[in-house]
């Protein structure tokens, strides 16, 4: 009995040792700064000769954000709506492409590279300029006068929003490189024997997708949903992020921290909902 207990404790201890490095790094560079910024959110910060000086102001910053500030609420709403449009599109597109790329065919490596290239490029400076010129969408479709060409065939009331969606689709696709890679890695982990067994039992590819691929990819879908949400929320060219950054530049640290926390709480609520949905889904499958 005593031996068993010590085994268990040893098991725990070993686990903690493995995890400790990460926890230390995390506390020093994430947890402590997070706590500090919460503290700042309730304070007015002034740079004085002896460093930062904080005076308590209570909920003032939070009230200001929704009552006095004109820019913040509208930017917040547009960021959230574009999130709800983009994330499902990114996920569906990424699964689709990952499944195509997971098949055995000539030139697979090249195609994989092509689908990941935008991630490499878009973090660079050039695409940012392009994006700032074209706003959120790239004028690929409108630039080549597709609108005028197709107007005779399709009524303009339908055509205009259709082209807008297509324009933002290109951006969606460029954002999905990492997700495609994660799905690919997930697909590789599924044993081929499962598909063979299903095929022997007479399952169609459509059935084996929903009965094998989809449930086994569930953890990766969760990762990707989170990654896409976080990625689109914390992108530097995101409207709210830009705004918070500009408030920081004005040295209104307290107010900027408060904005950051409001933003954070909203993301928290959305991600909490995502987790809730996924947990129900996963336990359903049991």
């Amino acid at each position: 009995m005593k031996f068993r207990l010590s085994m268990r404790i040893r098991h725990f201890l070993e686990g903690y040792i493995f995890i400790s490095l990460w926890v230390i790094g995390f506390s020093a560079f994430m947890a402590i700064p997070l706590g500090r910024s919460l503290y700042y959110a309730f304070h007015e910060l002034n740079v004085t000769s002896d460093g930062l000086k904080a005076t308590y102001v209570g909920w003032k910053h939070f009230q200001e954000a929704f009552t006095i500030d004109v820019k913040f609420p509208s930017r917040l709403i547009s960021t959230i709506t574009s999130l709800f449009l983009e994330v499902p599109l990114i996920l569906i597109f990424a699964i689709f492409i990952a499944m195509l790329l997971n098949r055995q065919f000539i030139g697979r490596g090249i195609f994989r590279g092509i689908f990941f290239l935008p991630v490499i490029v878009s973090s660079g400076a050039v695409l940012q300029r392009l994006q700032s010129d074209g706003g959120d969408s790239l004028p690929i479709f409108s630039q080549y006068n597709l609108f005028d060409v197709l107007r005779n065939v399709i009524p303009p009331e339908i055509l205009r929003p259709l082209l807008d969606v297509l324009d933002s689709l290109t951006v969606v696709m460029w954002d999905s490189g990492v997700q495609i890679l994660i799905f690919l890695a997930g697909l590789q982990a599924i044993s081929v024997q499962l598909y063979e067994a299903a095929k022997c039992d007479g399952a169609t590819p459509w059935e084996s997708f929903w009965k094998i691929t989809f449930p086994l990819l569930m953890p990766m879908i969760l990762v990707n949903t989170l990654f896409s949400i976080v990625n689109s929320f914390t992108k530097r060219d995101n409207l709210v992020m830009e705004y918070i950054q500009s408030v920081f530049k004005l040295s209104k640290f307290g107010y900027a921290s408060a904005l950051g926390w409001i933003y954070f709480i909203i993301i928290f609520a959305i991600i909490g909902a995502v987790f809730y949905i996924f947990r129900n889904k996963m336990s359903e499958r049991g």
Binding site: Q104, L181, T234
Partner: protein
């Protein structure tokens, strides 16, 4: 028999064609930003400022690359210093980050210990927080540690990355417990189990994470701007900003385009290597395709 074979052949061809058509179609669209970048790097000044921006270059020139060489010659510290810094910082972030994330993910998914759930919720919590908001408190922490203007200031804050940790944990969950038990029965300790079972099984996740974190580290100008003050410690993205700013800003858009084109080359190399690693894992694990 012969008849059924013929049908099978035909059906495969049909699927294959659709596959290629779809991939080519999407692929062309995906290539657009790269084409834009390459063509911008070769654009003469007259074409750089057209509105709306033109996709293809009409009269290609290598003047931008010449300008880049000239601009790098005039910087305060030798340009190779920026390159060296960038490689050191990104390399350390990738290697340490991947190792620490894998080490933490293993007990999180396989050891049933107290506080496990709490640590995991902490990761989720941290995932969501916008990095800009913690910048100033983070600076204060780094300042207190006395590592401003060292490589540590550029590396340490990014080593305990929540994203990588979450990714690793999801993959570690899929390692069969039987495998771990088998190794332990054969007498391997935790550390050995980690190296001979967990790391190889996590290879796809490691490769994917390495790639993501390399791209983030390689392109991040902010940490070097904030945590270092001497020109000696700046990284390539800073050098890029220096080229961009200063006197004669207008003329240098093309130079920046050329420089950022050159900057993507290491990223592409890392991509190729990491994808090879994913494929190799499959070969070693004995799973056939």
């Amino acid at each position: 028999m012969e008849h059924s074979l013929a049908v099978k052949g035909k059906r495969f061809d049909f699927g294959g064609t659709i596959l290629y058509v779809l991939l080519t179609l999407f692929g062309l669209l995906m290539l657009a930003p790269l084409i834009y970048m390459v063509s911008t790097a070769f654009k003469p000044t007259s074409e750089l400022f057209l509105f709306p921006p033109r996709f293809f270059v009409m009269e290609p020139t290598i003047r931008n690359f010449n300008d880049l060489v000239l601009a790098t010659g005039t910087s305060i510290v030798p340009f190779s210093r920026y390159i060296f810094n960038s490689f050191i910082v990104s390399g350390a972030i990738v290697v340490l980050g991947a190792l620490i994330a894998a080490m933490a993910a293993y007990p999180l998914s396989k050891h049933n210990m107290p506080f496990r759930k709490m640590i995991f919720s902490m990761i989720i919590f941290a995932l969501m927080f916008a990095p800009q908001v913690t910048q100033i408190p983070q600076f204060l922490v780094i300042n207190k540690l006395g590592i401003i203007n060292t490589y540590f200031a550029l590396i340490l804050p990014f080593v305990a990355a929540p994203v990588g940790m979450f990714l690793m944990k999801q993959f570690a969950d899929q390692i069969p417990d039987v495998l771990l038990e088998a190794v332990k029965i054969d007498g391997a300790g935790e550390w050995k189990t980690f190296w001979i079972i967990v790391i190889p099984m996590l290879k796809p996740a490691l490769a994917t994470f390495a790639l993501i974190s390399f791209i983030a580290a390689w392109n991040d100008p902010f940490s070097a701007t904030i945590y270092t003050t001497t020109e000696n410690m700046k990284t390539l993205p800073n050098a890029l900003q220096t080229i961009q700013g200063g006197a004669g800003v207008v003329a240098r858009v093309g130079t920046v385009a050329a420089a950022s084109l050159l900057m993507t080359i290491p990223t592409i190399l890392v991509f190729v290597i990491s994808q090879k690693m994913v494929l190799e894992t499959m070969a070693h694990s004995g799973i056939k395709e």
